[in-house]
Symmetry: C3
Subunit: 139 residues, 3 copies
Amino acid sequence: MICGGKMMWREFNIQTKRQTEFIDITHFAAETVSTSGIGEGACLVFVPHTTAGVTINENADPDVTADIQSALAVMVPSGPFRHGEGNSHAHIKASLIGSSVMLPVRGGRLDPGTWQGVYFCEFDGPRRRRVMMTCIADR
Amino acid sequence: MICGGKMMWREFNIQTKRQTEFIDITHFAAETVSTSGIGEGACLVFVPHTTAGVTINENADPDVTADIQSALAVMVPSGPFRHGEGNSHAHIKASLIGSSVMLPVRGGRLDPGTWQGVYFCEFDGPRRRRVMMTCIADR
Amino acid sequence: MICGGKMMWREFNIQTKRQTEFIDITHFAAETVSTSGIGEGACLVFVPHTTAGVTINENADPDVTADIQSALAVMVPSGPFRHGEGNSHAHIKASLIGSSVMLPVRGGRLDPGTWQGVYFCEFDGPRRRRVMMTCIADR
């Protein structure tokens, strides 16, 4: 997306390494915002996959995202499921967590709060994944 | 919403037929984007109901959305609940799944990924429902 | 965010009073939209905290939000968790419910549906909290 000559979207690739894994992608969003040159607006972080998601949570203690993963493993029933690929749990987690987050941008910077990280949530890895960032600006 | 003479929002009606049902509404979003004429931006799909939601998940095998529905039925407790209408489970599922999704638009087309469908999630049907689409463009 | 001389973002403070509590903040969103002067577009409601969230649900009967809170208390496992602060349940609920909602704006007014309220979801109170509102307009 071009707005006043400034690039407004970016795409990033991620190689996940485990079946379930939360990867901090805050720097991708921050880089997209600073590259775009927008002043005020919002940044959409979208995951184009059906067995992965994206969430915002604490980046200070990595135990927090580990606890979210273990809670989801307990919460989502183990079946029986109809889908033959054996990864229904991953599709269910993806819909619970969601496929996008939207972050405010102020003064040219991503403003998610002090301890917030944006996390790519792998539920059926390891796989090669994509993340799409779109900045929405005032002008 | 008019932007450069182009219609930017649309509303669609859906008649659901079962108590719990996921209905593919990707074509509504795609039609909204193509009618709007926007090139780059995003499309907000919003469900103005408190016992329904919207999610993105696999559209190749219908067993996937069936599995999500059966998992939610197991996950959400059966009560006791306070709300007298007997549909608290549907309100809870609506907040878990969410009332909107936001999709990237690139090159004038919705770009949700290869196997992604946008699903209206009925949790307390059958009812007549509405879905609101709003396109956000670069200019 | 200034767009055509109109203020486009607002920030509000909330003092929560209980550990778990849903607070209706629809009036903050409505006020942001009317102050902004936008005609058509969308309003992003963002919660910059990792143990709180935001959701849209019924505002007619307060038992509905009470039922959502009690269901989440049952659904989220009681541990064991790794995070040493003892509030992992709150972080998990925050990721399940989500950190933002996006609402359509039409004819200069927030248009969330008839019975919808926007709720700040406290999961680890009482605390002083912030909510950030950003309007995205057509021009």
